[in-house]
C-alpha cells in the first residue's frame, strides 16, 4: 500500500501502522529505541538502589514519601495508558474523531500526573530535600525526573500530532506516527510501575 493513498473505513488496513515500508521501519525502529531506553532506566534504577540509603544526614525516603499523592499520580498515569489503548483501537477502526477524543483524555491525565509530580518535588525542596542534599537525593531526582521529562516530552509529542492532523484525518502517513507515540506512552507507564514499586513502596516499607 502507498503512503499517500486516500482511504475509507472499508479500505483502511487492519494494521495501518505497519501497512507501508516506512511504517514497518518506524514500528521496528521504535521498539529498538525502547530497548535502549530500557537499558537507560535499568542503569538509573541500579544506581538508585545502590544509593537509596546514602542520605548523608538529609531526609530519608521514609520521612519524605506520602502515599496519597503518589497513589493518585499512579492512578492517573495508569488510566492514561488505558485511554491511549482506546485511542489506538479507534485508529485501527478509522474513527479519527474518537481517536482524537481519547488521545485528548490521555493528554489531560498525563498533564495531571505531571502537575502532581511538580507539586511533589516543590514540597520536597521546601522540606530541605534538594538535588544536592545527598547521594540519595541526586539519585532520586535524576531517576524520577528523567521519567517526568519523558512524560513532558510525550505530552508535547502527542499534542503536536493531534493538532497537526486535526483537519486532515487519518492516512497511512500519520497512522504509524500516532502508533509509535502511543507505544512511547505505554513505555513511560511501565517505567512508572517500577518507580512506584522500587522507589516509593520499597522506600516507605523496605
Amino acid at each position: 500500500m502507498h503512503v499517500e493513498e486516500k482511504l475509507t473505513a472499508e479500505t483502511f488496513p487492519a494494521e495501518p501502522e505497519k501497512a507501508t515500508l516506512e511504517g514497518k521501519n518506524k514500528f521496528l525502529g521504535f521498539w529498538f529505541f525502547l530497548g535502549g531506553e530500557t537499558v537507560l532506566f535499568a542503569s538509573l534504577f541500579a544506581t538508585f538502589l545502590a544509593l537509596r540509603d546514602s542520605v548523608a544526614g538529609g531526609p530519608s525516603s521514609k520521612e519524605l514519601f506520602q502515599m496519597p499523592i503518589v497513589f493518585l499520580a499512579t492512578m492517573l498515569l495508569l488510566t492514561s495508558s488505558l485511554t491511549s489503548v482506546y485511542a489506538m483501537h479507534h485508529m485501527r477502526n478509522f474513527d479519527f474523531k474518537k481517536m482524537q477524543l481519547w488521545l485528548g483524555i490521555t493528554v489531560l491525565l498525563g498533564a495531571g500526573f505531571l502537575a502532581l509530580e511538580i507539586y511533589e518535588f516543590t514540597e520536597y525542596v521546601h522540606e530541605g530535600f534538594k538535588f544536592s542534599t545527598s547521594a540519595f537525593s541526586s539519585a532520586f531526582y535524576t531517576l524520577v525526573g528523567t521519567h517526568g521529562g519523558h512524560v513532558a516530552f510525550g505530552l508535547l509529542w502527542i499534542l503536536t500530532l493531534m493538532i497537526r492532523n486535526a483537519k486532515r484525518g487519518l492516512n497511512l502517513y500519520n497512522a504509524p506516527k500516532f502508533y509509535v507515540a502511543s507505544l512511547y506512552w505505554h513505555f513511560i507507564d511501565v517505567v512508572w510501575v517500577f518507580i512506584f514499586t522500587v522507589v516509593y513502596l520499597m522506600g516507605m516499607v523496605g
Binding site: V3, E4, L21, K24, N25, L28, G29, F32, F33, G35, G36, E37, V39, L40, S43, L44, T47, A50, L51, S54, V55, A56, F131, S132, T133, S134, A135, F136, S137, S138, A139, T142, W157, T160, L161, R164, Y173, K177
Partner: protein, 622 residues
Amino acid sequence: MSTLARKKGVGAVIWDYLTTVDHKKIAILYLIAGGVFFLLGGLEAMIIRIQLAVPNNDFISAGFYNEVLTMHGTTMIFLAAMPLVFAMMNAVVPIQIGARDVAFPFLNSLGFWLFFFGGVFLNLSWFLGGAPDAGWTSYASLSLASPTHGIDFYVLGLQISGLGTLIGGINFLVTIINMRAPGMTYMRMPMFTWATFVTSALILFAFPPLTVGLIFMMMDRLFGGNFFDPALGGNTIIWEHLFWIFGHPEVYILVLPAFGIFSEIFATFSRKRLFGYSSMVFATVLIGFLGFMVWAHHMFTVGMGPIANAIFAVATMAIAVPTGIKIFNWLFTMWGGSIRFTTPMMYAVAFIPSFVIGGVTGVMNATAAADYQYHDSYFVVAHFHYVIVGGVVFALLAGAHYWWPKMFGKMLDEKLGKVTFWLFFIGFHLTFFIQHFLGLMGMPRRVFTFLPGQGFETGNMISTVGAFFMAAGTVVLLANVVITTVKGKRVGNDPWEDGRTLEWAVSSPAPEYNFAQTPLVRGLDAYWIEKMEGKKGLTPAEPLGDIHMPNPSILPFVISLGLFVSAFGFLFHQDHAWGTPVGVFGLIITLGAMFFRSIIDDHGFHIHKEEVMEAEKKGAGA
C-alpha cells in the same frame, strides 16, 4: 527533482553534503571526519612517544601529558575508530543487502552530525582552558577533582556524539531486518553485514549505560549532584561499573566489524567462499552476547572479591573460543585458495598473527590473580593496542583500500598501498611488542616520564622509533589518496575482478538509487553465483520503474548544532551569566527543528524510469 549528473559549484557541493541523506555520501562524511580525528589522535600519540623516548624528558609538562594522553584515547575510540567503522557500514551494507537506502535516511544524517558536533565540542577544550586530563576512562575519583573544564567538555561532547552512535545503531538494525532484497535470507547475508547487525545490537544496549554515567558526572560537576562524592554518600565505583558495562562491549563494537571486513577480504582474494560460514555467524553472535558478561574484568583490582573475580575471569576466557573459531575459519578459507596478495589481503594476513598475540595477552589479563601484576602497567597498554591496532586499525586500512574504488570510483595505488602496509606493520610491532616487556619489568602506564637506570631506556627508544614508522606509513597513505584523486583512472563495477557480494555488481561509485532494479538473491555470495553462470549482471526481482527517494534536509545539521550550542552554554553556566540562557537557547533550536521535522510532511520524490534508464546507459556501462 532529480539531481542526477548535474554539474555543481563549490557552494552547491557543500550544501549537498550538509543536507544529504544518501548513505554513500554520509559514508564519505564519516570517512573524512573520522580520518581527520584519526590524524589528530595520531599526532597526540606521537607527542606521547616523543616525551617517553628518553628518561626524565621535558618535551612536554606532566599536566599537558595527562591531557594529551586522555585525548589520544578518547579521540581514537570515539572520534576515529567508531566513525570510520560507520563509514564502512554506510558505504557497503545497504548495497550488500540489495537495498536502495537505509531504513531511516534522515536519522542516518542526524547520527553523523551529532557525532561530528560532539567531536568538535570535545576538541574545543584545547582552546578553552584545557583538555580533559583523567584518562579516557575518566574515573570519577580523578575526574571530579580536575580543576579545569576539560572533563565537562568530555562529558557533554561524548553525550552528543554517543547519541549519534545510538541512532546509527538502531538505523542499521532496522535496515538489515526490513530492507533486504528478495532472496537475501539471514544465512545468505555477507559476513560484514552480519557483523554490522550484531555490532548495532551491541551499540543499542551498550551506549545507554555510558549516557547515564555521563549524565551523573555532568550532574556532579555542573549541577551539584553527589553520585560519586563519598562525603555525601556517593560511590565512585558506580562510574567504573557504568563505564565498563559500556566500555567492554565497545571493544566488540569495534572489532566485530573488523572481523567482518577481513572475512570479505579473505574470501575475495582466496577466490573461495568463506570457510565455515554458519560457524562464523554463530561465533559473531556468541561474541556479541558474551561481550556483555565480562565488563568487571577491567576492575579485578577494585576489590569485588574472589567470587566475582572468578566468574568474570571464566566468562572472559570463554570469549577466546568463538574468536578461535574465527581465526581457524580464516586460515581454512586461505587453504587451497588461489591467493592474491593485494594490499587489503596483506593487512588481512598480517592481522592474524598480530591479533592472536593480542588475544593471548587478553587471556593472560583475564587470569584474575595474575592480573594484579599486569594491572596499570605497560603490559595492558601493549595488549589493547595489539587488539585495537592489530585488529581494528588494520581492518579499517584494509577496508579503506578494498572499498575505496566503490566509494570514489578510483583504485588507490597498489605500490604505495604496500609501502604503507610495510611501514605500518613493522612500526606497529616495533612500537608495541616491546611494551609487553616494559610492563612486566614494572613500567606503569599513564605516567609522564621515567627515571634512568631502571632498564626502561632501550625499550622506550625502540617503541618511539616504531611510532615514527607508523607515522611515515600514514603520510604515504595520505599521499596515495591525493595522487589517486588527482591522477587515478575510473574503474568499472568489479575492479578487484573477484568480487563476490552485491556491491561489486553496481557501478563505482554506485548510482544514488544503488540498484536500477532490486536484485533477486540466489545464494551466499550472490554476485559470484551470477558470474559463475556466465552472467554479466544480477537477476532482477522487479521490472524497471520509478524509484522512490528521500528528500535531502538541513534539519539534522540544525538539530545537532542546537545541542552543540546548548552544551556550550551549560558548560559555562557557573562562570558566566550568559551560560544558562545560551544553554536553553540551544535546546530551543534542537526542539524547534524536531518540531518542524514532525509537522512538515516529507514524502520524498521519484526518479522516473526514463531517467534511470538514461543514467544506467551512461553510468559505467553497468
